[in-house]
Each structure stands twice: as structure tokens, then as C-alpha cells.
Amino acid sequence: MYSLVSLISAWTIPILLVFIPLYAVFRKVPVYESFTDGAKDGFDTAVKIIPHLVGMMVAISIFRASGAMDFFIGMLKPLLDYLGVPSEVFPLAILRPITGAGSLAFTTDLIKEHGPDSMIGRIASTIQGSTDTTLYVLTVYFGAVGIRKAGYALKVGLISDLVGFVAAIAVCVLVFG
């Protein structure tokens, strides 16, 4: 299991890296111009995240340094231990559907605190990659067309976030454990 997953992990990016430009050249795309053109957006995107990440990092940092985080995690720890969930990642389950920047900040904090190659760091990374900011997506998409009643969309989104959360933990424990 681990060898297969690490094989996929190791090969996905290099293959895309060679395949995309080769295919583009074949289709007579000026690859270098295309690259630099799209790359400009990358800088803007990174800069646009700064206010969000600073704001959330400040709040989380205070919450953690004061001892409040440990207090809340300590309360939930027996239940989470019973379920086999590392209690440190639990706040992600609540933050993820609500705020993309906030959960990214929290994941960053976990990686900084426990190390990127620790089990917690890997689980947090996987959760962040396999779920989405359901409430934001719902607001943007339905807001854009004037839908007021979301029907069952919110429930489906939240259930899939929960499944993603559990799946991320299970897969990481299975692969890296």
C-alpha cells in the first residue's frame, strides 16, 4: 500500500511537468509565453492570501499560546483517543468548511508545531487537500444566481467534508502508520 501510494506521489508531478509542455509544443503553443503569462497570477494569488493568513495566524497563535487550545483539546481527548483520531487535528474538522484561509493557517500551524513529516503534519495536509470550504463555495455559487434556499446542498457538502476528514485520517494511518 505504502509503496504504491509513494509511487503515485513521486511520479504524478514529474509526469505532468513533462507531459504538459510537450503536449503544448505539439499543439504549437508558445510555451514560454504561456507560462510567464499564467505565472503572473500566482504572485497576485499569494499576495492576496497575506491579510487572511496574518489575521488567522494571529488569532490562532494567541489561542494556542494562552493555553486555551490545550484546554479544549484536553476536554475532547478521551473521545477522540477512543476513535483513534489525533486530537490535535480536530479543530480542522470545524474550521475547514467555514474558512479556507483559517484552516490553511491552522494546518500551517500544525505543520510548524509537529513537523511536516510527522503523522499529524501529513494528516493535516491530506485533510486540507481533500476537502473544501463548503460554506464559501455555497455562498459564491448560489449568491451569484440569487438562490436563497440551498435545498440539501449544504448537508451534502458538510457530509462530504466529514467523510473527507475521516478518510484522510484513515488513509494516512494506513499508508504512513
Partner: protein, 199 residues
């Protein structure tokens, strides 16, 4: 909601620090947090610039429309209620393709266009149609091939194997997306079907 959580973190942190008699950690933590935020964003620049550049090549080369074609049978299966050859289908396919390639910037406008087309088919303009719910479910379960931002952050913190989460993310995404589709189907079957007029 975000406002509430943000204030909650700061306020509770302040109160707990005050009770513990360690109010000085609040100031220190605030500046430390701000510094980390900026450092991380600067670390993100390199990988976001690189990756969005690669993805623009993919888009210009027509890989996006190619993927859209590949996804056609899947779209027909997921959105059986949309009349054949309706423009909504094209936008939905582009939205899904862009999401899979990790092109968030391209995915959102496509998704909004798809929603607008679905809204034209929707008999009740204030209430989301089942098709709209399905599209939302697909978008919130995060179809991603390469979790770019996470790889960048892991590199930032000197990971020895920054990309070793690509495989686990793929599997977890697959599971959560499959769950979203199944739950969506289940809810849809419990609703009275909407009869679309040819739009």
C-alpha cells in the same frame, strides 16, 4: 461565522492568558502569528507562480477542453435532468476539469456560468434545483490532482518528502467525492422530480 470564530480565538485566548497570569504571551503570540502568516505567504509565491504558469500552458494547449470531453459520460450520469446539448453541460465539464487540474481561478467563473445556465432551467428561482445541488456537491468535495498549496507549505517547513501527500490526498478526495455523489443521489431520490421544459 468566520467573524465569530476569529473573535472567539482572540477573546478566549486573552481570557485564558489573563486567568493564568501570563498576559504577556498574548502580545508575543500576536506578533509571532503575524510573522508566520507573512513568511508562509512568501514561501507560497514560488510554487504558485510556477504551478499557475504550468496550468496556463495546459489551458492554452487545449488540455482543459480535452479533459472536458473525457468527462462527458460522467456529466451525463451525474446530471441526467439536463436536456442534451444544453450549454450548462459545457460549463459543468469545464468547471470539473479546472478543479481536477487545481485551477481554482478558472474553476470558479466556469462554475458560476454553469449555475447561471442551470438557473435558466430552474422552475423555482429562489430554491436550488437538484442539478445545482449536485454541482455544488462536486465542488465542495474538492476534486484535486495536485494539492499545490500544501506541497508549498511542506517545502517551507523543510519537509524531506513534501509531495508524499499527493497519493493520500488523491485517495481521500476520491472517497469524499464518491460519498458526495452518493449522498446527493440519496437526497435527490427523496425529492419530487422537477420536470424541465426544453430551455
Amino acid at each position: 461565522m468566520v467573524n465569530f470564530i476569529w473573535l472567539f480565538f482572540i477573546l478566549v485566548g486573552f481570557i485564558v492568558a489573563a486567568i493564568n497570569g501570563r498576559i504577556e504571551v498574548v502580545t508575543e503570540a500576536a506578533f509571532e502569528g503575524a510573522k508566520t502568516g507573512v513568511t508562509v505567504c512568501f514561501g507560497l509565491i514560488s510554487i504558485l507562480v510556477f504551478w499557475l504558469g504550468m496550468m496556463r500552458i495546459a489551458e492554452d494547449a487545449g488540455l482543459l477542453s480535452k479533459m472536458a470531453k473525457l468527462l462527458q459520460p460522467l456529466v451525463r450520469f451525474l446530471f441526467p435532468g439536463i436536456p442534451r446539448n444544453h450549454p450548462a453541460i459545457g460549463y459543468i465539464m469545464s468547471n470539473m476539469s479546472a478543479n481536477i487540474l487545481g485551477l481554482g481561478n478558472a474553476a470558479t467563473p466556469m462554475g458560476i456560468k454553469a449555475m447561471q445556465e442551470l438557473q435558466k432551467l430552474n422552475p423555482n428561482k429562489e430554491h436550488a434545483s437538484p442539478e445545482m445541488c449536485t454541482l455544488l456537491a462536486l465542488n465542495t468535495s474538492s476534486l484535486t490532482l495536485v494539492p499545490t498549496t500544501l506541497i508549498a507549505i511542506r517545502m517551507n517547513f523543510n519537509s524531506l518528502t513534501p509531495t508524499d501527500i499527493v497519493g493520500t490526498t488523491l485517495i481521500a478526495t476520491f472517497i469524499s467525492t464518491a460519498a458526495a455523489i452518493m449522498v446527493d443521489r440519496w437526497y435527490r431520490k427523496r425529492q419530487p422530480p422537477i420536470h424541465y421544459t426544453k430551455g
